[in-house]
Amino acid sequence: MLTVRFLAMSAVIEIDGLRKTFRTLRGGARVALDGFDMTVEAGQVHGFLGPNGSGKTTTLRALLGLVHADAGRMAVLGRQAPAELPAVAGRVGAIVESPQFFGNFTGRRTLRLLATAGGVPHERVEEVLDQVGLRDRGDERVKGYSLGMKQRLAVASALLKQPELLILDEPANGLDPAGIREMRDLMRDLAAANVTVLVSSHILAEIQLICDHVTIISRGRRVLSGPVSEVLSGFDKGEYRVRVAEHERAAEVIRGAGLPVTVHDDHFVVGDLADPAWVSETLGGQGMWIRELTPLTPDLESVFLQLTGTEPEPGTHKQVDDAVRPGAEHDLSVTVVEGEAK
């Protein structure tokens, strides 16, 4: 089983040193991608995380041939992109940033036209409409759809050709909680059916729930990539939150033992803790009885905020371009966990 899985692993998406600078008519230039790398292996549900404006959409657009990259090498399903995209387009389903549809057409008609253009049998249209929950609304004009319904229609259009690779840019955009859950289930089903999924999002909890691998981007560069579990354990600093009556005195005691301690209003956090029992023992020995001792396991959100430098700070309003540029002011390369598939 392990061998088979290993053999089945081949890169479905490879991006190497991708660069893109948008130039405006007034001569302005905005660096959207600054040497970005990413690898997605077959069978992964790969999360593509980054703050607003970090270059996720630009990456996907470049990969799909909608935007011309200035430099870099890309391959999709083993073919060079964008030059050889026509050869694999039939195996790749994609939605890129809130897709727009022709308002006067019904949902069903929109899909039929795409199916016609792509040589997909029309029965498939009914299947995907059903799959995304639009079966009964398929004969209404797209104009009258809610944002979430349009998003579903977009996903339906991506599923139409039964893709091996599904690329979804912010699919949860505009979806209601039920829609988000359905989208999650849908992605799980697809993953189970061996479809490789690349899903971009800034909703971290979502990614953590559905993705097995993740690539984090900030200001056009990769900050980190790897299996979600490894990323999280890599950020596990063995921290515990401790609540105790005289928490400042208790913190002094722990600090005296050489452990890093941060004191907060009504508790303190201790790091590098191998065995929490040591804290209760030590403090108990001094007559201080612990009320709470909670491990602070990192979630993707804190990793993300920390890596991209977008963690809110009291009293400041972070601007979209305040995100960290990897390898620049803050060198984050030390924390990069390269995604070596195990």
């Binding site: 935007v67 011309h68 890129v96 727009q100 549809f101 022709f102 016609t116 253009a117 792509g118 040589g119």
Partner: protein
Amino acid sequence: MNLVRAELSRLLARRFTQLMLILLVGSFVVTIATMVGSSHRPTAAEWERAEIQVVQEESRQEQMRELCESGQGTTDFCQTLSERKPRLEDYLFGVFVFEREIGNLVYFMVAFVALFGFLVAASFVGAELNSGGMTNLLLWRPQRLTVLGTKLGTLLASVLAVAVVATVGYIASFWVIAQVNGLPGDVDAEFWGDLAMLVVRGLLLVLGAAALGFCLATLGRHTAAAMGVVAGYAIVWEVGARIVMEVVEAGRTETYMLSTYLGAWMGGRVTFYDGPCIGSFEDCSYSLTWAHGLIVLTALVAVVAVAAFANFRRRDLA
């Protein structure tokens, strides 16, 4: 082939296309109805009066001819004399004479269908670029030139089909009016040949207008861009520059105007008098023929089309 089918249904499903088709048909119906209302079969009395007037005119011309032969009268006048045989239709008023009037009516129709082609073409590509329809299609067919080319080809074929049907219907309607409520006039083989050539030139013009609208909207990424360019050209060049050239007395102003080539193409030949000037009319005038029109207009469409396709091939799509 699938792409053509998809493009065709997109084109036909567009509200704008449908609206323009209705306007086109509506304007033709109004024109034809007006003609039906304003024409009648000549009465016996009218025939009689016309016959008398023809005889009178013939004898007047006979006198003139004698005058010319005896060496009196200007040469210009004498030259045109023989071409002006008086005809019955000249003296029948309120009677639609097919042979006389169909030419101008076809001009009107071509102008209308060309405008139709231009607007439908511009909005077809403009709306698709803006609605993301093009992006969607390119995700399915990542071949930009093929996709844009198919779109243009489908559009031109559709516009041509509409234009052909419109032309045939239009001319046939007037032919019927002439038979029922007017006069066909002197319709010989030469007349039909000329009319056919006019129609062919008109259809080519319609195709050119549609291609131009399509390519301008592609370049400008917007339906309005195509209309803006045409309006801008008309105001800045055809009006503004013409005034400037006349003030500085630049010679042969009309050779710099696209409208001239349009007229030359449709009319076969246009002649302008470049005064003030001393000498005969020939010395002071210049002509442009349909061939000039063909070259200039084809070059214009070709340049814009190449620019549009080249730009679209490399462009970043939203």
